[in-house]
Symmetry: C2
Subunit: 499 residues, 2 copies
């Protein structure tokens, strides 16, 4: 068996493999604060790439960024009943505003607040309160605001990137003069998320609507994109909520209509989080570590100078600097290629392995022989580590963008084939029970079944530790019988074990 | 007297003028959460410009971004004694991790934490804890990390942007193998801040060191840049701290030295905050509202289409679109000009005034006559609103970058002249008392005096509600007598009433 950089492998222990990929790529780690992670530079650089792409798309569609308070008064949170029910169990609560030392010299909380404040678990309530002040007339609509922020939801069982008490996200909040416009916004955002996740993270997703019992607390409809990890479990990669007039009635977001009436605004909210990094790891990485799609890689090319003495060192470094310049002048995905010379005082082989584990798409090793040959000796992250190739420098430079393009496309194609091969049409409850029951720990894939959108089906799926992921927006024209209730329905639903 | 867009004027009531400029430019407002502001889109867009410039400079100097937890355990905060003393009085404390409903249906905090957590007032302690894990050998140094984050310091008297319980900032934290390298880092950052503030925000500053009694809690030396507002008060625009080995001893950040020993790392920390937006307002704005230096303006040009009927509308909008294209192809300050067509359904004059109050450098009004003349009719924010001019379109396009350049330069020159005219050399305590005592509310400027860096001088200045701003790094070769103690000293210190 081949030696792998990550121990254990995916096959032998997938959850532990996931943790070890994070360690090996130096992406993040647990902190001394229960359930909260530290996002290390390489992990944060991936988040910055995601932010940059998404922020640009949101601005192109006339959304503007703003910033709202971290702390939310209880009285605001309470205004929307379903909403507060959904979040009360996981709110970090601020009760005091200073510390004092006791006679023994211990610090204790002091200065009790009249009203406790919660750290935002999401910001619908505080933003709704501001929208109610800002929106007076139809002329103030639509109002399309986005916020990049940290969020706190107290979690009992945490896993880095996937489920942490604090995480980073963007949350969009918009208000519209009519229902259709708000629904259109909700779906436009779903498309933007799909484009971000498929075109940049190379992760295929199923676009769908959440069944009623999986909606965001307070929403009328929740739309989502669902991805399949390599262990065939599902992960929700983004959500977009049509909130109807629920939050605008709670916060009194009223406006004078064009024809002189008064109406409540129609609102939406939507978000993606640092969880995306967790799914990125789980969709593409292999037993040698992280695999990054070129478009989202913080460094797309790393150049490793190889030399045996000082005379060689100067020659090699000079050559690397020139090569780096040329590479950074190449355009890929509408930006200059991100290339970097790793000059650290370390063995070349050790460096190469570090960059493999960090998922860098192209690593180049340059020694005096390559210089003499006028060649570039390089490895691709999508090929085995030993399988390196040499190209004349001019050829390499002229082909690099195409190589990155094909690596990006291959990752998506491969993940898409994997997902499609692991979605199964199940015809009846017996098949369903068998599919999900055999082993609680191993997932065999997604099940696609006729099912009605009704809370009564939950009792069939909950005991299997399975969740209804979504009702895909794309459905064929056929119809059938709900496998749980026997009722006729035109829609299939996707079920899976999930993160 | 001329009618002004902002009432009151700077002269009649400076603090209220400041608040009204913020309202008129729609930058930010108070929130339902005591002491916390909402940063509205135009205010946040200014922050994004500041972020982008500074982030780029930090990356160019080999700093990397990361993210650390929002919450800090009390036990960590307590490790550095001076540090916890400095922040204990203003910490928001999380004591519970959920909410439950009482029998009456009221929500109350529940799930008491074993150890209270504070919302970060700054992150030296939590980052130090992680550095202690990451740093083992001299090969791991220097470690140069930056974080963009929200910060909470409970304030009793708040003012938007200048002093709020929550604010946004960047905080840099670095560790080095020796003292000199850490000092060099501290001063390099001071230079980066100076460049950001002078070259982009067009605010002249005095670079200096804080006297010992004004240091950051736990620092060995604190360096700062001090700016003068139009009311001649001082505002600290950025700080950079040399922390010596204080925090590394508290957190046990130890490393194996090159020669086989074991040493504590030398650390630094430094930050600028959303306070910069407050100072930007107070340095440049006038009685018609915000004035933005072109380099930092979210929109540098706004085009206002003027038409009387539908036939004109189409013609004018088409022309504006083409003009906008041409303008966005112009390069200014190494980026494309940020230009925008304001198509809202509002009177042209109302739009123009809105953009004046928002501080946009160039506003263009385009009607059919301008199209017929092949001309651009425009106003500059640094000239009176009525004083508009017309230029042939080609001339306008070819001159725009130079116009923006000169506006940028003029703002700095004007602010520099103002600051220099309002720094006074005071020779003795009598002059000092007179200068600061006449009226507690009005500031006459900065006082420059010989003074020793000793806590005993505080008793002379505190009763006057004056603060020692800094010991300027640039000092002439002369020396003199401390006006407070009569001791000989080679250094002058800057004193001022301050924000």
């Amino acid at each position: 068996m081949e030696k792998t950089a990550i121990v254990p492998t995916r096959e032998s222990n997938y959850p532990e493999w996931y943790q070890q990929v994070i360690v090996a790529a130096d992406l993040a780690e647990n902190s001394p604060v229960r359930g909260c992670m530290v996002i290390k530079p390489w992990g944060y650089a991936i988040w910055e790439q995601i932010q940059q792409q998404l922020d640009c798309k949101l601005k192109q569609t006339d959304h503007v960024n703003a910033y709202f308070p971290l702390l939310i008064p209880l009285s605001l949170l309470e205004k929307e009943a379903a909403h507060v029910d959904g979040f009360a169990k996981e709110c970090a609560v601020v009760t005091h505003h200073r510390l004092v030392a006791t006679a023994e010299g211990n610090l204790i909380p002091d200065g009790k607040l009249e009203e406790p404040l919660v750290i935002r678990p999401t910001s619908e309530t505080i933003i709704g309160e501001m929208f109610a002040k800002w929106i007076k007339s139809y002329r103030d609509l639509p109002l399309k605001i986005n916020q990049w922020a940290n969020i706190m939801r107290w979690e009992m069982r945490t896993r880095i990137f996937l489920r942490t008490s604090e995480f980073l996200w963007q949350e969009g909040h918009t208000a519209h003069a009519n229902k259709q416009e708000a629904i259109d916004e909700t779906l436009q955002i779903l498309d933007i998320y799909t484009n971000l996740v498929e075109d940049y993270l190379a992760m295929p997703v199923i676009k769908g609507e959440k069944p009623c019992f999986e909606r965001f607390p307070g929403a009328v409809n929740t739309y989502c994109i669902e991805a399949m990890m390599q262990d065939k479990k599902a992960l929700q990669a983004g959500t977009s909520h049509f909130l109807g007039q629920n939050f605008s009635q709670a916060a009194k977001i009223q406006f004078a209509t064009k024809d002189g009436g008064l109406d409540y605004a129609w609102t939406t909210s939507w978000g993606v989080t640092t969880r995306l990094i967790g799914s990125l790891i789980m969709v593409h990485s292999d037993d040698n570590g992280l695999v990054l799609p070129p478009k989202i890689a913080p460094q797309q090319v790393v150049i490793i100078p190889i030399y045996r003495n000082e005379a060689e060192q100067q020659q090699v470094l000079d050559y690397c600097a020139k090569l780096n310049e040329r590479i950074m002048n190449i355009t890929f995905a509408n930006a200059q290629v991100r290339s970097y010379i790793d000059k650290r005082d370390l063995r070349g082989g050790d460096k190469a392995w570090q960059w493999i584990k960090k998922g860098v798409p192209i690593r180049i090793e340059i020694g005096v022989r390559d210089i003499a040959n006028g060649a570039v000796y390089f490895g691709r992250r999508d090929l085995p580590p030993q399988q390196k190739q040499s190209l004349p420098t001019d050829d390499f430079v002229s082909q690099l963008a195409a190589i990155l393009d094909s690596m990006q496309a291959n990752l998506l194609t491969k993940a898409k084939a994997f997902m499609q091969a692991n979605i199964f049409n199940l015809e009846n409850l017996e098949q369903f029970n068998q599919f999900f029951n055999e082993d609680q720990l191993i997932s065999k894939g997604f099940a696609s079944c006729y099912a009605i959108d009704d809370p009564q089906i939950e009792k069939f799926i909950k005991p299997l530790k399975v969740t209804a992921r979504c009702i895909p927006l794309e459905q064929d024209a056929s119809s059938g019988i709900c496998i749980f209730t026997g009722k006729a329905t035109a829609k299939k639903m996707i079920f899976a074990k999930a993160y």
